[in-house]
């Protein structure tokens, strides 16, 4: 206490000796509580689907801007959701489940529509309690190309799908898929499903959303020898399905029947220790014709392991054009990738440590790493 007295005396002496005196600043003005509006859509926005694995009844989608590095807002998505964006980008659809008492109680399966300009919930359609509850893919819930129909996968575990009319707010039909799963949309009124036999079942709908025709393709993969990931990647004319061992199966869905291109390998002759893996195993920039795949060293059972590198391919030439060693750059294992479709694209990469990396899609340069973007971000969608 004695030394404090001496310190105060010294301070008083300093003031007395002519040190300048600063008047206290004026008080802050009163704040005005306002409502933030979503800005106009940027070229590098991304929806980050957080499956919140430690508390799965409380999943959510974060809207994030890869340019300003800010979280812009959130869509609540319930329990093990499917997430889709309407073809015109104005609405998002979340197929999900709620329990009446939080973690328990009466189960309600529902599709909730959110206005993507405001992030306000717009409407809903209650489903029969059959909705597929599984990890994310583009095909848990999906729009037809003109947005008139919305398809929802059902698994009870018997497999079927619902045809919904988002404008009328109604379930129009349920289509039995005979053991084939997921809703892979093509055109305004066709839905394909993946079968254990390695075939695609394709159902064509009439104007009322009821089944008009169905066909079964020849097998295009072998589920025993080398299964394909169900996390398909959108191409210009359909989807590409990567296999556990690194084959690329491109499926053209632009016609009435699917057309399968000969598969081509991600791996070179001396690279069989490498495999694709994760929860969203590829992204394609449509006009640049580039495919981005998270790759890791691993064997049997590692198909959900994230990538230590991103391998970049020329889709037309079937050739790798780059390897980006992201782990060596400090990033954790990449489990999900998506790329913006603009002329100066960024690659978004979510890791198993809930990081979101913003990467120059031309050079592989990591521009920014957002830490703790949710809990388990397993899927990314660009508008």
């Amino acid at each position: 206490m004695q030394s404090f007295t001496r310190w105060a005396a010294a301070l008083g002496l300093a003031l007395w000796s002519g040190a300048p005196y600063a008047a206290p600043p004026p008080p802050l003005p009163a704040d005005h509580l306002t409502q933030e509006a979503l800005p106009a859509r940027g070229p590098h926005w991304v929806y980050v689907v957080d499956y919140a694995f430690d508390n799965e009844i409380d999943t959510r989608v974060h809207l994030y801007d890869g340019d300003s590095h800010r979280r812009l807002g959130q869509i609540d998505t319930g329990f093990l959701p499917g997430f889709a964006l309407a073809p015109d980008g104005r609405m998002s659809a979340v197929a999900t489940t709620y329990f009446a008492r939080g973690g328990h109680g009466v189960r309600t399966d529902v599709v909730e529509f959110t206005d993507t300009a405001t992030l306000a919930t717009a409407s809903e359609i209650v489903l029969p309690p059959k909705r597929l509850q599984a990890v994310p893919t583009l095909f848990n819930v999906a729009y037809g190309s003109d947005g008139r129909f919305l398809y929802v996968s059902y698994v009870t575990p018997a497999a079927s799908f619902g045809v919904l009319d988002p404008v009328k707010g109604a379930v129009l039909a349920e289509i039995d898929t005979a053991g084939c799963v997921l809703v892979i949309p093509s055109g305004p009124n066709r839905v394909s499903s993946l079968c254990e036999s390695g075939r695609l079942l394709t159902v064509t709908l009439d104007a009322q959303g009821h089944e008009a025709a169905r066909s079964m393709s020849a097998p295009f993969f072998d589920a025993d020898r080398d299964p394909v990931f169900v996390q398909g990647v959108r191409t210009a004319r359909g989807f590409a399905f990567l296999s556990f061992l690194g084959e690329v199966h491109e499926v053209d869905l632009s016609g009435a029947e699917p057309v399968f291109a000969p598969p081509w390998p991600l791996l070179g002759p001396a690279e069989h220790a490498w495999r694709p893996g994760g929860s969203q195993v590829g992204a394609i920039h449509l006009t640049l014709g580039r495919l981005y795949v998270p790759m890791h060293r691993g064997g049997e059972g590692t198909h959900k392991d994230g990538g230590s590198e991103i391998w970049v391919y020329d889709l037309a030439a079937h050739k790798r054009v780059a390897r980006w060693a992201l782990k060596a750059a400090g990033l954790k294992a990449v489990v999900a990738v998506e790329v913006s479709q603009d002329a100066a694209p960024v690659l978004f990469a979510a890791t198993d440590a809930a990081e979101l990396a913003i990467i120059d899609a031309a050079t592989g340069h990591i521009r920014h790493v957002e830490k703790h973007l949710g809990q388990t971000p397993w899927q990314l969608l660009t508008p």
Binding site: S3, F4, R6, W7, A10, L13, F53, D54, N55, E56, I57, F79, L80, T97, F99, G102, G103, H104, G105, R107, P129, L132, Q133, A134, V135, V155, T156, P157, C180, V181, L182, L194, C195, E196, A223, P227, V228, F229, V230, E300, G301, T302, H303, K304
Partner: protein, 171 residues
Amino acid sequence: MRALDRLFEESCRSLASRTSRRSLLGMLGQALTGAALLPLLPVDRGSRAQAADAKPRKLGPEDCDYWKYCAIDGFLCSCCGGTSTSCPPGTGSSPITWVGTCHNPGDGRDYIVSYNDCCGKTSCGTCDCNRNEREKPIYRPSRNNDLNWCMANANANYHCTVSVIVGVAEK
């Protein structure tokens, strides 16, 4: 003026040393320094050498690497109030499951293991175990662990997963 500087410096040091945050940091610093020095003290390292030669610890049902968990992706019920073969109190087991084929190093046999989910409460959130040997995508549901196998329960919420031996796998 130098006397005034020294007076001010001494006063600041005295005041700073008595503030709680600095004191805490000081104590932590002393503790860390002490901890860093500990390995330098003369001790008998024979016991450590013996430990290195000992067999590795036997894996048990709370270890993700336990042999029965070869195709699991979920929370181990043995960490959530249950065991590797019983659901925690207040939850219910799923009647439908996926199966795996796991090798038991203890007897050299392969076993068919049923992975039943325990249902009715939200995620246990402890002992997340993600192994996927011979696991297949959901177009082969009997071998798929991405589905919520509580889907057909009266309460379909997922809590954790047990691993029940069904029998020896035929070669």
